[in-house]
Symmetry: C2
Subunit: 350 residues, 2 copies
């Protein structure tokens, strides 16, 4: 009886299938079969093997299994900074979806844009680390996505529009940002807003751009075209929303906007803050709308009119799409565009 003394980084001596086989008096392949519930193993043998395995504290080695089956049962989620409140709900929903399908989730963050570290990580993804990728970061640079698709890795882009030729080749699960923008424009107009300002996020974010397009187009159609002088562009943060709104609103009443569209709830929050600081009552003196219907948009102290995307269903659809892609790499690219919903609250006159 060989005395195996190999230990891993934690100093543990791993129990292998051979150890179980020896203790159970069967062959290692029978252990493997028994543990995977192979029908060919007769009941008595199987139960015996399982008991011995449990007694020895045997756990199957994931790497060895992955190496031979070529399936890691792991999905990568490439997310933006979780402190940005757009991401956690989506990541959690995805995690639940994949968990329910017996897959693990590797969390990747792209925060180090341009540093080269991210590109390095992507390489890992191609090394059999994961069976598929859900990409939900708003990273402006699509080359990462392109590279992964090129490498043949199943990939679904979630909640992020993709421009150009790539957009037509990759699976996408998105919501109707153009319509969302239209809904807000129509609502604000119906509430009497006529001098409307926009606090926008980065120009290279395709989702925000579509949102803006729908918003502007609808206002034009309604006869109150957007005044370019009332558009501010910056980051998706309350801080920028505050700063931009202070600029826009701290002017003589006659020239002051009567409504502000914050392109995300996070921005709109800063706008609400600015209104408070300037003593403007919402919605009497100023109407405010956001986008996303984050958790806190419904809290009574915020009470923000906004647009809701069906995040949970989108996560489910993304998981479905990814598994479909894994099952059939040659299938035509899929596009699911979910309808959005206007959520009217106290920040507009309704």
């Amino acid at each position: 009886m060989l005395d195996r003394a190999v230990s891993d980084s934690a100093g543990r001596v791993p129990v292998t299938g051979y150890d179980v086989a020896r203790a159970a008096g069967v062959s290692q392949s029978t252990v493997s079969r028994a543990l995977r519930g192979d029908v060919r193993v007769v009941g008595r043998t199987r139960e015996h093997v399982l008991r011995v395995a449990r007694e020895l504290g045997y756990v199957v080695n994931v790497s060895a299994r992955t190496l031979i089956t070529r399936r890691s049962a792991t999905i990568a989620i490439v997310s933006g900074d979780l402190r940005n409140p757009s991401y956690p709900a989506l990541v959690q929903s995805l995690q639940e979806q994949f968990h329910a399908r017996d897959h693990r989730v590797l969390l990747m963050s792209d925060h180090d844009e341009g540093s080269g570290r991210f590109e390095e990580d992507l390489e890992g993804l191609r090394g059999g680390l994961v069976d598929g990728v859900v990409y939900l970061s708003a990273r402006t640079d699509s080359s990462a996505v392109a590279e992964l698709v090129e490498a043949g890795l199943p990939l679904v882009v979630l909640n992020r529009d993709v421009d150009g030729a790539l957009g037509r080749r990759v699976d996408r699960v998105i919501s109707d940002n153009v319509e969302g923008g239209r809904l807000l424009a129509r609502h604000l107009h119906a509430c009497g807003a006529r001098r409307i300002a926009v606090v926008a996020g980065p120009a290279d974010n395709p989702s925000l751009r579509r949102r803006a397009r729908g918003f502007a187009a609808e206002l034009r159609r309604l006869g109150v075209p957007l005044d370019p002088a009332l558009v501010r562009r910056g980051t998706v943060t309350p801080a920028f929303g505050l700063q931009a709104a202070l600029q826009l609103l701290d002017v003589p009443a006659a020239r002051r906007p009567d409504a502000v569209f914050g392109q995300t709830d996070y921005i709109a929050l800063g706008v609400l803050d600015a209104a408070g600081r300037l003593g403007l009552r919402v919605p009497q003196d100023l109407q405010v709308v956001g986008y996303n219907d984050l958790d806190w948009a419904g809290w009574s102290m915020i009470d923000l009119t906004t647009v809701r995307q069906p995040l949970a269903e989108m996560a489910r659809a993304a998981a479905d799409a990814l598994f479909a892609r894994m099952a059939d790499p040659a299938a035509p690219p899929l596009l699911r565009n979910f309808a959005v919903e206007l959520v009217v609250r106290g920040s507009t006159r309704s």
Copy 2:
């Protein structure tokens, strides 16, 4: 020349080190060395190998490497539901810490408590899937932690007190909840509060329990002991905070509390909401304090007095502790207890 036609689930034909070796006219082990930057490979050879590897699109197979090195360069983070705002910031910080140390992050959620699925997942962790675990869920049941430690897996518990014998055997990075409770009690008392209510979370959460202990002890010391009739216990949600506060506050003014301690900001939010609905002015008619200093506690519409934990430093300490544990499994258990800080805002009279 053998024509290899094995393909993985995505239909890709993987390029192996042997393919590179053949194309470069060297041995496979030289390829391995060159790619890992082994000093023994001469410059000329190395560059040649690297170029060929790049041309062929070679990526090292992670499973094979893990199988032999017994290090997956992956850390598991066991988190609670990311929609609970306590978690995202911590998860993100940890992700950054491990990323900076060239480790990946496997995200595990414990949401399915008691379903058996979670236990199943833990088994995976023992199968060489990860090199270590950071446990930051508030799951009441510590058996999972115990099991992992028992199995010899390096594990650090972050931001969560652990009771009993286990607590003395496991590495912990926490903050001083007792002191945090004291700080709030002292502050409320100094602000004139005398009839103080508490909206508490689950009784089996050790962190909240310590927080409560410090709070109650300090009030007692100050001569205004907590009235048990003014304590409500429930879930860590604004909804419960609202409901509990409505009960506590919707009474004749003489019997009404003049301050409420929401054991987390998330609860305190519901308390603020209740105050608003009952027409109570904060802080004139009612003072409110929370705990955690979440992102939104500082927004002007919330403006909540609370206690701040140094989350980023705690995440760094947790990563340090975990790597130390991986390096020396026999080291004595570590306990890092971070100081907390009172953040005074507009919800108390200061």
